[in-house]
């Protein structure tokens, strides 16, 4: 670099950067509503985390109650199924993250290819429908399909094929597939929205140029669409990883109708906590469970973010 003079070391140390208030103030003002909201909604109530470490007694108040150390956390590990439950939660979440992302992208790409605007809008609306149904309702519908006596599958399909009815709610081996399928069915229409809006923002010029160069559709997708989606995908994955110890309560509790025989494959941490605390509604223990899930998620996000940073810095969250 010939034209640039390096600043003599002595002078460099003395140059102080002035805090450019005039330039930064508008930005801070813009951020202000959000900051105020976070303080009110999230940071003020943060004191509630101490409940996990205390023996909550209303007479003494939250701050006056006795400390109980990690007592409230013990029940999470007391069950001999603790390992199974953790395994279930982790495996399902990993499967869900991967499958939902793949299917959501695939569907977003396909919808983007459809020429008829009416058809593409119609498809979008329809696959969003399942997301709008509450889990309770979905569990009724699943029951309509899977009920041993009156279910559509046993009565309508298996009977006509001459096969024996299956007691779905009492046979664990099918459930990883059933739950994965139901989760996908319900969530893909929603996940797709994000990817679709990203795809839509990609300039048509790129595709035209590629087409001129003789690229097939598949090549165009591989070379243009997918790479440009990478930042969104990475962001979504990191965010989902932060929730890896959480599970959708409705999915794992309502859909299997809380059937005991299925516990080994359907129980996740959230369901376990709910069952354990249903009779006693101990705020300390449920708070402890929440803290436990948060910490794991926190560690995971930091870890994954660090890995991403090494691979492609600009895509990391922070």
């Amino acid at each position: 670099m010939s034209g640039v003079k390096t600043v003599p070391a002595r002078r460099a140390g003395k140059i102080k950067k002035k805090f450019r208030w005039k330039e930064y103030l508008p930005y801070y003002l813009l951020a202000l509503p959000g900051v105020i909201y976070m303080i009110c909604n999230n940071y003020l109530p943060m004191f509630g985390i101490v409940i996990a470490f205390k023996n909550l007694n209303f007479r003494k108040g939250i701050f006056g109650s006795d400390w109980s150390g990690f007592d409230n956390f013990k029940f999470l590990f007391a069950s001999k199924d603790a390992l199974t439950i953790t395994r279930n939660t982790l495996l399902y979440n990993i499967a869900f993250i991967i499958l939902t992302t793949v299917f959501a992208i695939a569907i977003a790409v396909l919808i983007n290819e459809i020429r008829s605007r009416f058809a593409s809008r119609l498809y979008q609306s329809l696959i969003l429908l399942p997301y709008l149904m509450s889990w309770v309702i979905v569990s009724y519908l699943a029951y309509a399909l899977l009920s041993a006596e009156t279910g559509l599958i046993n009565n309508g399909i298996l009977k006509n094929l001459g096969l024996n009815p299956v007691s779905w709610y009492n046979t664990p081996k099918y459930w990883p597939f059933i739950l994965t399928f139901v989760n996908l069915w319900k969530g893909v229409g929603y996940a797709m929205i994000i990817y679709y809006s990203s795809i839509v923002g990609i300039s048509q010029d790129y595709y035209e140029a590629a087409a001129l160069d003789g690229a097939t559709k598949w090549q165009q997708i591989k070379i243009i669409t997918l790479p440009l989606l990478k930042p969104t995908v990475i962001t979504m994955c990191i965010l989902q990883v932060g929730r890896i110890f959480y599970s959708d309560f409705g999915l794992f509790y309502q859909i299997p109708m809380n059937s005991g025989t299925l516990y080994s494959v359907t129980r996740t941490i959230d369901v376990y906590v709910y069952n354990a605390l249903m009779k006693s509604s101990d705020f300390g223990m449920s708070s402890a469970a929440s803290v436990y899930q948060s910490i794991v998620g926190f560690v995971m996000i930091i870890a994954v973010n660090a890995i991403i940073r090494k691979v492609s810095k600009e895509n990391a969250l922070f």
Binding site: L29, L30, L32, P33, I36, Y37, C40, F47, L56, N57, F58, R59, K60, G61, I62, F63, G64, D71, K74, F75, A78, S79, K80, Y140, Y143, S147, A148, E149, T150, P165, S167, Y169, N170, M257, N258, S259, G260, T261, Y263, Y272, N275, A276, L277, K279, S280, S281, D282, F283, M285
Partner: protein
């Protein structure tokens, strides 16, 4: 355009102002002024300060009373509240405000209100298995002295039922019971009993095997998709109808006393007993023979609703006279037959029976004395309790010809359109309640006879004792969880006991059931020694 950016700037500032300003906004009438971030814990048994907002004068103390509902608040609640106040303001200087609360969330609502220091004077615990929860969290106050001083009518009315309100050596809950005992039975359709000429002895206690014989006959006769037993996996487990155990104010997770609580004073793990094992086998036979629906552990409708479809022979249920009458009436409307009970247990008296509905006084009550006075009045004053239960005479109900305790709806009003109806009757001395059709005078005699029919040997030796799970709460939670997992499947015969029973028993042990039972035994022995 400068205007647009001005608007943006102004709205951003306004939004933040809104958040700040709403902090200074007026609170709703039931809140006390609260400065610190700690939950108010000021009330103490002897606090007689009157700090609550009062509407009608300095002497009148306002009490906030929870009014449990099933989702809809009766339209005329305010009218009834005013009528109540007309009486109680002059009589004891209290102004009542009813606070409607959904039954299923009463626990949450009470917890939230107490934790944030809101005024609440009378809280109801309904179908939660007692006050243990509330006491352990320090939410409610002891009532021993208050009841002694102001609650004489409560003691007279409730009698033995008071035993349900004790916990950890003190009285915390006031029950509202008109039934001093409970009995369990298999209630089934009379028309089918007659059709198959099944012998029915109302003084006999039937065992599970005897019922199997009956089911065989009925199932063969009705065939097809007909099922003998309507059951729902989340209601009381089948074995609880046959086991005659006393759960000591808690659940099976903490061990039980066998033989109506009158056998040995040893608390046992019910699931280790031979009795349980043989029951599992019977349940399995029932399931495989088709007496139970293959969906029995996942069906969402209660047994009661299932019965009304006519596709079931009967269901297991509490079978006191009012229950039988109520079930019969509904079954008559639904499919045209009465129900007859095949009793599976004798009338018993145990702590947990009286924990069904309990009134408690939270720590945020400023004047427990006046509150107790009001509560006592509902047990003493027949007119008051019926005012709250049924509404205003002439407006919502009228006496029937020649009776002073049987009533009926006025012209043009019936159960479906009355503007005032109390679904969850948790009020006062229920034996003073007037009765609507189809109850007749015989109803009162039946209930009286039933209450007096409990025999000495069926009154549990542990009456008044309630287990405190706090010292072993971790194991208790883990054990409860295991029980939830297996209770429906083993109890209903869905899983094969040959393989699953051992797994169940070892899972219970691994979760720590022996420690819980040991703690229970220790507390029990202590309590027994102090009697």
């Amino acid at each position: 355009m400068k205007r647009k950016q001005m608007i943006k700037k102004v709205s951003a500032v306004l939004l933040s102002a809104v958040f700040l300003l709403s902090g200074c906004g007026s609170s709703d009438g039931t809140q006390q002024p609260e400065q610190e971030t700690e939950a108010a814990g000021a009330a103490d048994d002897n606090n007689a300060e009157n700090t609550a907002a009062s509407e009608t004068g300095d002497d009148i103390y306002e009490i906030v009373v929870q009014y449990p509902t099933l989702g809809t608040t009766p339209a005329d609640l305010k009218m009834v509240e005013d009528a109540v106040n007309e009486r109680v303001e002059s009589e004891i200087g209290v102004h009542v405000t009813f606070y409607p609360v959904n039954a299923f969330e009463s626990n949450n609502v009470t917890s939230m209100m107490v934790s944030s220091g809101e005024k609440l004077d009378l809280a109801i615990s309904i179908f939660e298995g007692g006050v243990a929860n509330y006491v352990n969290k320090g939410m409610i106050i002891e009532l021993d002295d208050l009841v002694e001083q102001y609650g004489q009518d409560i003691l007279d009315a409730e009698g033995i039922a008071m035993q349900g309100g004790y916990f950890d050596g003190a009285l915390y809950g006031i029950p509202t019971e008109e039934k001093m005992a409970r009995v369990k039975a298999f209630e089934c359709r009379k028309d089918l009993v007659d059709k198959y000429n099944i012998e029915y002895d109302e003084n006999k206690i039937y065992t599970a095997d005897e019922l199997t014989e009956i089911f065989k006959i009925v199932q063969e006769g009705e065939g097809g998709a007909f099922r003998c037993v309507a059951i729902n996996g989340s209601e009381d487990p089948l074995y609880s109808f046959f086991d005659h155990t006393d759960q000591l104010g808690a659940t099976y997770a903490s061990g039980v006393l066998m033989d109506y609580g009158n056998g040995e004073d040893k608390i046992v793990n019910y699931f280790e007993t031979e009795e349980f094992e043989s029951f599992c086998n019977t349940a399995r036979t029932w399931f495989e023979a088709g007496y139970l629906s293959p969906d029995c552990n996942t069906i969402t409708d209660s047994a009661y609703v299932q019965m009304q479809t006519g596709n079931y022979f009967g269901m297991f249920s509490s079978a006191e006279p009012d229950m039988i009458l109520g079930h019969s009436r509904v079954m008559q409307d639904a499919i045209g037959t009465d129900v007859v009970p095949f009793y599976t247990s004798a009338p018993t008296s145990m702590t947990q029976l009286y924990q069904v509905t309990q009134w408690m006084i939270p720590i945020t009550c400023d004047n427990p004395e006046k509150t107790m006075e009001f509560l006592n009045l509902t047990y003493k004053d027949k007119d008051l309790v019926n005012l709250i239960y049924h509404g205003i005479e002439g407006e919502h109900w009228n006496f029937r010809e020649g009776s002073d305790r049987l009533i009926e709806y006025p012209e043009g009003v019936d159960a479906s359109n009355t503007p005032y109806q109390t679904i969850l009757n948790v009020w006062g001395d229920k034996s003073k309640d007037y009765q609507l059709p189809p109850m007749e005078d015989t109803f009162f005699d039946m209930m009286k006879a039933f209450n007096e029919s409990v025999e000495e040997e069926h009154i549990s030796g542990a009456l008044g004792y309630c287990f405190n799970s706090e010292p072993v709460k971790t194991q208790y939670a883990a054990v409860s969880d295991v029980i939830t997992q297996y209770q429906a499947v083993l109890g209903l015969g869905v899983a094969d006991p040959a393989t699953e029973l051992e797994t169940y028993r070892s899972a219970l042990k691994a979760a720590g059931i022996d420690e819980v039972i040991a703690e229970n035994q220790r507390q029990y022995d202590e309590w027994k020694a102090a009697q």
